[in-house]
Amino acid sequence: MHERADELRQAFDRSFALAPDTATDTGTVENLLAVRIGSRSYVLRLAEASGLFVDKKVTWLPSPVSALLGIAGLRGTVLPVYDLGMLLGCPKAAAPRWLLVTAVTPVGLAFDGFDGYLSVRREAIVPEVRAEARERHVREVVQAIDLVRPLISLASVLASIENRASHDGSERSDRR
């Protein structure tokens, strides 16, 4: 056990002794977050996220949007929280534990599990060409040596939320 700790300590120290990774610096590497929604695994671009949280309290809010779980207070900001699985078209499941805040428009997206942090080369991210495998908000897929996961486009997710919000807002304006 002590050897293992020493090994971890040496690796940690060695990372600071070595020169920075040029691949990361040159932008040829994509940082991803591996997540689980239901029984399926996906990846998200870390660049599209502004924060990752776990076990945050979500206050339920009555809404006609079934994917809206409620609102949550994060870093002094009140954010709407959506069920990412329902936005992808999956049926409603139990309350998701993990919460990701998008970068461009701060919106909380809840999902069931967090598998880890991935760094893959950009060449490993390829467009999804299989028509039968295409899902909502999935345009690309990560194909590494030991990994094949659909890549969820958070921009597409946010766009659909915004479209839905603007559509609902116009309907409310029309009703007025």
């Binding site: 920075p20 977050l33 990752l52 942090y117």
Partner: protein, 489 residues
């Protein structure tokens, strides 16, 4: 009941009845004789005496009349005295007659006689007075004829009437006595005839009964003699066979004697082996006891192992709890590192170094998480191993318990074996002793068998004698039957 009487009882009963009838005859004869004697005495003592007194009365009247006539002829006074004497005699006899005459007729006749005599005396006194007055003889004779003679005739008639009456009474008494005697004779004759008839009948019945019973008994004696003869023959045959069988039995008993000796030797060997077995059983008992103690020690060690394993399980659980905390910390660290990376990316060029640190922290957190998973796996393996070990140990403990119980049973069995071996030893010794006693008894039986064989030969000889005696008895019974029932014989 009479059927079951003995001969003596029957003969005695017949004689007793005959004697009783004879005694009855004697009693009746004595009674009849006494009646006859009584009648005779009464006839002689009463009736004949009354008749004699009547004759005396007549004689005194005649004497008084003679004396009176003498005075009338001679005028002598001595005839008056005789006359008084005669009259005194008359009075005396009359008194006796009154005393003895019991019937009314007699008393009436006596009263008539007494009146006639008084009138006759009165007439005589008047004529005597006339004669003393020296009256002429013719006047005296006339007075005599006129006064005395009729009264004398009446007096005699009265006396004669009394005599006749007494004669009739005497005759009646004689007839009554004769009738009583005849009745007694008839009764005696009837009883005598009855005695004769009974004696004849009894003799006939006794003769017939006794003859029949004796004949039956003799027949039975004959039959029994024949059976006795047959039995004696069978007994002789049986005795011969018995003697032969006794010889065979004697031979068999000799073999039995040899077998008993072999049994005695075998019993001695069994006793020795049983003692050796008892020694081995005691040694086995001690070994089992030692093994039992070892198993108890193993049992304690197993309990200790179980306790240690349970403690290890608890420790593993505690490690798991700590590991949960570490895992959670690693997860939080990972989240923080990711968020730091995001923040560093947003910080532009200045955040690059910070991004490196955050990346390393994240990697470290990933590794810690991986190590945590690995440790959790190891802990799960340890806990699983502990559970398996505990279960195996409990199974072993149960097996040890079962083994301990089995050893207990084995120990009990060894003790039972030891006890049974002791019992076997005692039984073998008892068998040895009994076999020796049996040998002695068999020898005695052998001697007894020889004696029985000798007795059988003697019985055979005596059976021959019994056969001869039975034959003689058959002849004797035939002779006796010939004497009792000649027509049958």
């Amino acid at each position: 009941m009479i059927r079951h009487w003995t001969f003596g009882q029957k003969v005695g009963a017949g004689f007793a009845v005959t004697v009783a009838l004879s005694v009855a005859i004697g009693v009746v004869a004595i009674y009849a004789l006494r009646s006859v004697v009584g009648n005779k005495d009464r006839v002689i003592g009463v009736n004949a005496q009354l008749l004699i007194d009547a004759q005396k009365l007549d004689a005194s009247v005649e004497r008084k009349g003679g004396a009176g006539r003498g005075f009338l002829l001679t005028r002598e006074e001595r005839f008056v005295g005789e006359m008084k004497d005669a009259r005194a005699q008359f009075t005396t006899v009359m008194g006796q007659l009154k005393q003895n005459g019991g019937s009314e007729e007699e008393r009436r006749l006596l009263a008539a006689i007494e009146r006639s005599e008084a009138e006759h005396q009165q007439a005589f006194d008047q004529v005597i007075v006339l004669r003393r007055a020296e009256a002429p003889i013719d006047a005296v004779i006339r007075a005599f004829e006129a006064q005395i003679a009729p009264r004398r005739a009446r007096l005699e008639d009265d006396i004669q009437s009394f005599v006749s009456a007494e004669e009739q009474l005497l005759d009646g008494a004689k007839r009554a006595s004769t009738a009583t005697a005849s009745l007694a004779m008839t009764l005696v004759a009837v009883i005598a005839v009855a005695v004769v008839l009974f004696a004849t009948l009894a003799a006939f019945v006794l003769t017939r009964t006794l003859g029949r019973q004796i004949g039956t008994a003799v027949g039975q004696v004959q039959s029994s003699s024949a059976e006795l003869q047959a039995a004696a023959t069978q007994q002789a045959t049986g005795s011969k066979e018995q003697a032969t069988a006794m010889s065979e039995i004697s031979t068999t008993i000799s073999e039995l004697l040899a077998t008993s000796r072999q049994i005695t030797e075998s019993a001695q060997r069994v006793a020795q082996i049983a003692e050796q077995t008892a020694t081995a059983a005691r040694a086995g008992d001690e070994t089992v006891e030692t093994a039992h103690q070892s198993i108890a020690a193993i049992r304690r060690q197993v309990d200790l192992v179980v306790n240690h394993m349970l403690a290890l399980g608890k420790k593993s659980q505690q490690i798991g709890s700590v590991l949960e905390i570490v895992s959670e910390l690693a997860e939080q660290t990972n989240i923080l590192a990711i968020n730091a990376t995001i923040e560093a990316a947003g910080a532009g060029e200045s955040g690059k170094r910070f991004a490196v640190v955050a990346e390393e922290i994240r990697k470290l957190a990933d590794r810690v998480a991986g190590s945590t998973k690995e440790i959790r796996g190891l802990i799960d393996d340890v806990r699983s191993a502990v559970n398996t070990t505990v279960m195996a140990t409990e199974t072993g403990s149960k097996a040890v318990d079962a083994g301990s119980k089995q050893f207990g049973h084995v120990a009990v069995s060894f003790k039972q074996i030891a006890d049974l071996v002791v019992s076997t030893t005692e039984a073998a010794r008892e068998i040895e002793l009994s076999t020796k006693q049996q040998m002695t008894a068999v020898e005695q039986v052998n001697v007894a068998i020889r004696n029985v064989a000798q007795a059988s030969r003697e019985t055979e000889a005596s059976s021959g004698q019994t056969q001869q005696t039975a034959s003689q008895l058959a002849f004797l019974s035939k002779d006796l039957l010939r004497l009792v029932q000649p027509q049958v014989a």
